[in-house]
Symmetry: C2
DNA sequence: ATTTAAGACAACGCATTGTTGATTTTTTAT
DNA sequence: ATAAAAAATCAACAATGCGTTGTCTTAAAT
């Protein structure tokens, strides 16, 4: 009947731990964050932490996973215009989402965050654009894989820089820039 | 007189610790590597470790720094042909260097490695090519910064994929691919 | 050969860890 | 409303790793 299998109490406890953790992540690298600390901050017993997560890294991964699921849901809800470049439209939405969650993204994508999260975020774009790109594909799948890797890494890099520069450029400008770089590379300079 | 300020003994001890550490890095994430473990493996007293490094992360950073310095030296020694694209030539040399040190690069650039090292490696290329790029620059410095970030991140991403694919493509092919992506983006697909 | 620096070793108090079992509180199902 | 189930609390545990100390031994530089 009720698909919210997790009851309020559990949800609330986890929320407390997550908030406390993000707060600490802003202040110091994850390796310096102890479970004891997280629990003190959240005012939750340490044994309770262990009944939900195995360690800090497990907690981090779960936070990341929820975020990835949420972006996907967010993109799902949006109908893209078939005529325009899907990539550009999607990047706009992604920048939009990231801006709305700038705080947590800054923490998770920065040096403290782990590379798997980067990969997951890259995969969101890649999975949704591969059809568009595949249409005009003239190289072997193997080579194409390398190209997508380049593109996805470039996107993450630029997103991170944008966050660290205090989101000084507009969402639209950024989406256009990323789109241009992806499609034309540095040749746009000339 | 003698510019090798560090005597043999120190050098040897540090080498032991580094080797031991790299060995452990292959097996598990850095957060699971204890100093006790490093010292046991290297058969060096724990107190000795502390007289050289503050912790695992300090040791890692020093290994990385030495590698970065070494690449720079390696590139320095090589005269580039002014007529051709400096970027392409430099990428060839970098792929060459990485292949020669594939083992350690695989470890340091993978999920266990830290983002600062990525950045450092990116900076090597960027510092040596910015003049070439600046010549044809038609955008504001501010925007250019974003573009370089994209490119540098893309390069690292593709290098890492290459390493993880067991360096299945030749150095030359990779250099050409990276160069194409950087200069023309996905438009090479058409 | 003498001085200087590096490393070995044992020992320390301290913090964090992961787990336990008993107890209380909240949620859910009847 | 009440009983049963699930979740969180708490205190206590041994184990491990931490970082530092002082003393002693060994190697290197002059």
């Amino acid at each position: 009947m009720d698909n919210k299998k997790i009851n309020r109490r559990v949800k609330y406890t986890r929320m407390g731990l997550k908030d406390s953790f993000i707060k600490l992540m802003k202040a110091k690298p994850i390796r310096r964050i102890t479970i004891t600390e997280i629990c003190e901050e959240a005012d939750i017993n340490r044994a309770t932490f262990y009944s939900h997560y195995t360690d800090q890294y497990d907690l981090l991964r779960q936070i990341e996973q929820e975020l990835v699921d949420d972006i996907n849901e967010y993109l799902e809800s949006y109908r893209f215009n078939e005529d325009e470049s899907q990539f550009l439209q999607m990047m706009e939405k992604i920048f939009e989402y990231i801006k709305e969650n700038a705080e947590v993204f800054t923490v998770l994508l920065s040096e403290n965050g782990d590379r798997n999260f980067q990969k997951d975020v890259m995969m969101i774009v890649w999975n949704r654009c591969k059809d568009e790109w595949a249409a005009k594909k003239s190289v072997r799948e193997e080579i194409a894989q390398y190209m997508y890797t380049y593109v996805a890494s470039g996107c993450i890099g630029i997103i991170l820089k944008w966050l660290q520069s205090g989101m000084d450029k507009s969402i639209h400008d950024m989406a256009v820039l990323v789109s241009k770089m992806t499609n034309q590379g540095l040749s746009v300079l000339v």
